[in-house]
Every structure is written in structure tokens, then in C-alpha cells.
């Protein structure tokens, strides 16, 4: 599966609906601290950016794991954890630069985004279009098109 979560940070207004539906969907708790997607905020400047597991090909969390439970799934290419073996040491949570891991304090284990088996709820519920579920190649192509349109404004002033 080549689709990943694409984040359009400029469109996020910090509503936090993604955090609530994520936590509800996999932990059955209406508690944003259990969410796999997290909003980083600067309230003064009204800046809000969603961050989530980037599904790195060579994950830093995997090297940091003290129980070697983090691997790449051969079929989906996603970063997966053997949750039964996780002892909740939180070394991975400390290592990830994108705040991609979340400590589930109820189970005492660390989890990360698994793209909801191919139909991510956060994308469905984001009211501002800040989250997109698409292929990386597609996302880059879309940006290139936008770029191209900007550069041609002089030639085609109508757009």
C-alpha cells in the first residue's frame, strides 16, 4: 500500500477532532492523550500542526527499542509493533522526532499510527482538509502542478 498520511499543516486550526476520533477509534476512550496523531500548538501565534508516525523506511524507533518489537511490515510497508512484547519502556517515544509514538497509559504499551487498516478516521473527520490519505508520488505531483500554475500566471493571467 503506497498511501500515507499527508499533512497540510497550513490548514490545521487546532480543533483537535482528529485526536478525539483517533483515541476513540482504537482505544475506545474519548481522551486525546491516547491519540496516535498529535497537535503541536503555539497558542500565541495560533499555529497548529498535526504530527503523526511518518512510517519511516529505516525507523529510528526500531533501533531504540529495548525489546526489538518494532519492525517494518513486508506487505504494507508500515511500521508495526508486536504489542504483546512491548514492555512500555518508552525509549521509542523519546527518540521519534515527529512525536509518532504514543504511550497508552491504560495498557502500559506504546502504539503508533497504523492508518486504521487503510481507512484513516482522522482524515474522514478533519473539517479543514488538513489531512489527506494519498500516495506520496501523487502528493508531490499535486504540488508540482500548483507550482507550475504559479509560474505561468504571467502567460495565462486568467489562471
Amino acid at each position: 500500500m503506497n498511501k500515507r498520511l499527508i499533512i497540510h499543516a497550513e490548514k490545521c486550526n487546532g480543533c483537535g477532532i482528529c485526536e478525539l476520533v483517533c483515541a476513540l477509534s482504537h482505544s475506545k476512550q474519548w481522551h486525546p492523550s491516547l491519540s496516535c496523531i498529535k497537535i503541536t500548538a503555539d497558542e500565541e501565534r495560533h499555529l497548529y500542526f498535526p504530527t503523526v508516525c511518518a512510517q519511516c523506511i529505516e525507523p529510528l524507533c526500531s533501533t531504540a527499542c529495548l525489546m526489538n518489537v518494532i519492525q517494518k511490515d513486508v506487505e504494507t510497508g508500515l511500521t508495526v509493533r508486536d504489542e504483546l512484547s512491548c514492555i512500555g519502556c518508552r525509549a521509542c517515544e523519546t527518540t521519534c522526532p515527529f512525536s509518532g509514538c504514543t504511550y497508552d497509559y491504560i495498557d502500559g504499551k506504546v502504539v503508533n499510527c497504523n492508518l486504521c487498516q487503510g481507512d484513516p478516521v482522522c482524515v474522514k473527520y478533519c473539517p479543514n482538509g488538513a489531512l489527506e490519505f494519498a500516495s506520496i508520488e501523487g502528493a508531490a505531483a499535486f504540488k508540482r502542478h500548483d507550482s507550475a500554475r504559479y509560474r505561468l500566471i504571467e502567460i495565462f493571467p486568467e489562471g
Binding site: N2, R4, I6, I7, A54, Q55, C56, I57, E58, P59, L60, G77, P97, F98, I136, E137, A139, A140, A141, F142, K143, R144, H145, D146, S147, A148, R151, L152, I155, F156
Partner: protein, 157 residues
């Protein structure tokens, strides 16, 4: 000051030779998906726009990389990726404002224009001279002249 890639969009006919030569030189096969320079084609309105690295002086891709795999080459000014350091997080793909940064799922690393170590091949093979490798002052000057010419044309019309 370094040379930059300067593209004259009026001259691009969308032939795709630059994509073929770029992918051939870097990956050994001709495939536009593996080319660093990519042409955005709009068949309806009839425009072709090659997009390549803007060589930002303060490139967001360099900042966003969490392992410093992306750096500015002090010689050519090119922004290059060290494959051995890349962890495949794809954040650079999201950071590039122009959509230039791409990702090779087979190798698990990001890839982009590296100015072919100072001798960009796309420039050599572009038969309409749409792609140029010139000093940045000349690029700015050319653009200025273009705009000025159009103003003069408009005034005289």
C-alpha cells in the same frame, strides 16, 4: 556566486528529453518517474512547465530532515541527499514548497536534483534551450529584460 537552473517556460515544448536523460544518468533507465526534473503538462490549456530544484538559499528540506541527510554542497551550491543517512521518513517531500522532492519506494530513499556535480545533463540535452545553467544575476537580469520588453511592446501596440 553559484550557477542556477533557469527555465524559460515559453521555450519548453514538453518533449520530456530532460526527464529521459536525467533518469538515465542517475538510475540507468529511462523513466520519467525516476527523473529528478519533472514536467508538469496541462493538455487542456497546452502548457508545459519543467519543475526542478529551486536551490533555495534557506531550504526547508534541509531543516526538516531529522538526520541531516540533506545538505548544501559548498562547491556547486546544489542541495544533495546522502542515501546512506536517509531514513525514508518523506518529510522533505512534504516540506518542499515546489513539489520537487521525490521518493523512491524501491530504494527507500528520497531523491532530487543534484546538479549532476556542476554539469547538469538536462541543460546539455534540452534542444529548445528552455533549461539553462547560468549565474543567478544573469537569470534575474534576463527576467527583468523579458518583462521590460513586454511593457515596451504593450506601449507600442
Amino acid at each position: 556566486m553559484n550557477n542556477v537552473i533557469f527555465i524559460d517556460y515559453h521555450k519548453c515544448v514538453g518533449c520530456g528529453t530532460c526527464e529521459m536523460i536525467c533518469s538515465m544518468v542517475h538510475e540507468g533507465i529511462c523513466s520519467s518517474l525516476l527523473s529528478r526534473i519533472r514536467i508538469v503538462r496541462d493538455q487542456v490549456n497546452g502548457y508545459n512547465v519543467p519543475i526542478t530544484c529551486a536551490l533555495c538559499e534557506k531550504a526547508p528540506c534541509i531543516n526538516i530532515c531529522p538526520v541531516k541527510a540533506i545538505n548544501k554542497d559548498s562547491g556547486t551550491g546544489a542541495i544533495t541527499i546522502q542515501d546512506s543517512k536517509c531514513i525514508g521518513c518523506r518529510q522533505c517531500v512534504q516540506a518542499c514548497p515546489f513539489g520537487h522532492m521525490n521518493f523512491n519506494f524501491n530504494k527507500g530513499v528520497a531523491f532530487k536534483c543534484d546538479l549532476c556535480e556542476g554539469d547538469p545533463q538536462c541543460v546539455k540535452f534540452c534542444w529548445t534551450n528552455a533549461i539553462n545553467y547560468i549565474p543567478v544575476e544573469l537569470a534575474i537580469g534576463t527576467k527583468r529584460f523579458e518583462v521590460a520588453s513586454r511593457i515596451v511592446e504593450y506601449e507600442n501596440a
